[in-house]
Symmetry: C3
Subunit: 319 residues, 3 copies
């Protein structure tokens, strides 16, 4: 089976998931992002690479934060951006997902940024586009169900490379609700591809993800053990709706076992960096002293996230 993300020349046609994405494409995205970091730093934060292109933010699931990052990235590339909160519109009128996509395609769309609560929705759209040979059209997965969040994975890789230079000598720990996390899944696949030798996940037994040990991931339920000597700590967000459920205890108990405090951070390497996809829950998964401390690179992730999304969009539009 062909990789639906690549065109017949092996170039990136859609960005759907980091699993199965070749290493050279991941590195090309990270390298391209470097030039866009400086664009966002300039007086005039704009390049004309997507001028006259129509980018549709198709958010079937609400996410102001993620939508904003794509909107900024697209506008800095000079695209025309149309925000569609689909939850509230056509689907409520009974139109199918692919009919909605066909309609927007007929409006001469160039790119769909798709967020959906159901895993696989962006793949379905990309397959439909490929089946109809609409090679000028591109899909970016902005998070689908529990499956993947590839731009978050890429910005995490950008951040790790920025601070650690080399992936091939790192120990990385991902902490929290791994089983429900599309961020964790995208990070793990990217790190495997980029050669990170030791990936650990840390969390309560109820939130352990199956299938990870086959990927060589070491799983810890004891945080102190899991953090020992790591170079990178990726904290996951605790979803409020999971607290007080069968899966998660109270926030206080969670923090006691898995909250990142200065004491626990001291177990990692002295120059370890602390990452978080945001928004952070202070006092739930991370202590304020750590979130605001010198090892946290959480806000750098945000900055790099804009650059990475600009890179993805400009590479897609060029292919």
């Amino acid at each position: 089976m062909l990789n639906p993300q690549l065109n017949s020349n092996g170039e990136l046609q859609h960005l759907l998931a980091l699993r199965d994405l070749p290493k050279d494409i991941i590195l090309h995205i990270l390298d391209t992002a470097t030039s866009f970091v400086s664009v966002s730093d300039r007086e005039v934060k704009k390049v004309p690479l997507l001028r006259g292109k129509s980018v549709f933010n198709l958010f079937f699931e609400n996410s102001t934060r993620t939508r904003t990052t794509f909107e900024i990235a697209a506008k800095r590339l000079s695209a025309d951006v149309i925000n569609l909160n689909i939850a509230a519109s056509s689907t409520s009128k009974g139109e199918t997902l692919l009919d909605t996509v066909d309609n927007l395609t007929s409006m001469n769309a160039d790119m769909f940024v798709v967020r959906h609560s159901q895993s696989g929705a962006p793949f379905l759209i990309a397959k439909h586009i490929n089946d109809h040979k609409r090679h000028h059209l591109h899909v970016v997965n902005a998070g689908d169900g529990r499956h993947a969040h590839p731009t978050q994975g890429l910005l995490d890789m950008y951040t790790i490379r920025h601070y650690k230079k080399d992936f091939t000598n790192l120990k990385v720990a991902i902490v929290g609700d791994v089983v429900h996390s599309r961020v964790a899944r995208s990070d793990i696949h990217a790190m495997k591809t980029l050669g990170v030798p030791e990936i650990r996940t840390i969390g309560p037994a109820t939130l352990l993800a199956s299938g990870l040990s086959e990927l060589g991931v070491r799983q810890f339920t004891n945080m102190d053990e899991g953090l020992k000597d790591v170079d990178v700590i990726i904290m996951l967000r605790v979803q409020n709706e999971r607290i007080n459920s069968a899966l998660l205890p109270t926030t206080q108990e969670f923090f006691k076992s898995y909250g990142l405090t200065a004491e626990r951070l001291a177990l990692a390497k002295p120059d370890a960096i602390v990452m978080h996809p945001g928004p952070i829950n202070r006092g739930v998964e991370i202590d304020s002293a750590v979130a605001d401390g010198s090892q946290a690179v959480i806000l750098s992730q945000v900055t790099f996230g804009i650059a990475v999304r600009m890179a993805v969009m400009s590479i897609l539009a060029g292919n």
Copy 2:
């Protein structure tokens, strides 16, 4: 009484309804749209005709799809677009419709695209603007109550002309809930003006529209009879909220009597085209095999719709 849509030179000042719109103006819009079809096909889908103009999408009734088409059209003309969902804002504060309009006018608006659940609202706004001699301001009716949806009517005429070339030898059938349809009303007026010799409506007796026979429209309750030898079939959307009411039976029963199937389509001319304003209800008013079949031009309508809206906006801004 002067036609409120025309300025003192007989040029288009507002687009409110296709009734009473002179044939040469309709044809001028269709001819202008032709050039914009190619703009949307280009790498850089942008022309500077409305650069620095402020277009307000005033949607007193929610319609993401229609709003999107106008937003895209305005942005491809380089206008600044402001979307106002008025249902949720000023009117809830008790401000009158015309006070809202006066306020936005004072912000140096250039064009209002107005959608309203009440028939006549865009006329009220246009009359107010004319009374105050604000000749630089233009109103486009994006659908008012059951009354008119002129840009949909124009894109339907564009589509018919594109596929059939000549209006004066056509049989056209409009199928479904004609009585509640502003699309049907706009289409019928435009077809009369453009010289379509035979217009038919097909639907259950409860949804027959009065006053159409005076326009020379033939009404059918039997779909097989109505479709016989037609060149164009315009399917109307069944509104979900009307199903299971006194006016409409279940969706299955409706489909049995008035759903467009391949068998029924075979009653029309072999080269008949199938149109629909969207979003389609598969299996309610149209069978999937027909919607996706070679005679359906539903997605072309969407493409032409952007071009027609660009044409209307650029003509208005030039007058």
Copy 3:
């Protein structure tokens, strides 16, 4: 304590409140606005002063009207505008106000336009920005609680100067719910700074604001007395939610005592102007004959409001 609105050169860094704003800065804003009035009157209503800048409309409280004025102003300055309705997003996920701001800052924001139901929120953000020495970042208060609405105050000053030329010989009356009005507060501070010799407030005893007499403001509960010989009448909007409460009687009773009618207007100077921040409640605080009459300058306020906001944004971006 340093004025958080000014940078170390005494230039405007943030616009938070008109209190403590030096007279020369207020006059500089008004003078700059004059040039922008003509921009909004041109065919191409656009200048490139904020090209490539990212302006975030952070509306923690819904206000379509105010948000629209800032959006238009920013777009006419060629900025990229991102609208964030924060009530519905991150804060509901438990993120703190300053974490939200830090995130958007990391996306290389240039300006935050902040509306918040809590007095002081824009100050908190500005202080945070100043503490972190992010001198390229600017905050504009678009209304905070009952505290301040400085751009409304400035556009009111622009309007008064436009019609009356000189502030130093004026009698100005502010009528209505003064105690809850951030507009009244901003107007009074600006008028004091600009040398208006006589400021009056008129309203029911329940809505009298304490602390105003120290500013030299004369308070009236009898409207006829308060309006006598004034040059400028600033009507305040009656908030619907206050009607029928302990503070306000029915709208009819309010209108009887404090509604501006033609008869009452005749008590003021013959060339007195009538102002209102909008949206107006016809028949509650103002009679239609007055709102639509020759002395009303309410719609001019709206026009000047765009120019004043363009002036504020361009001055901030230049400092």
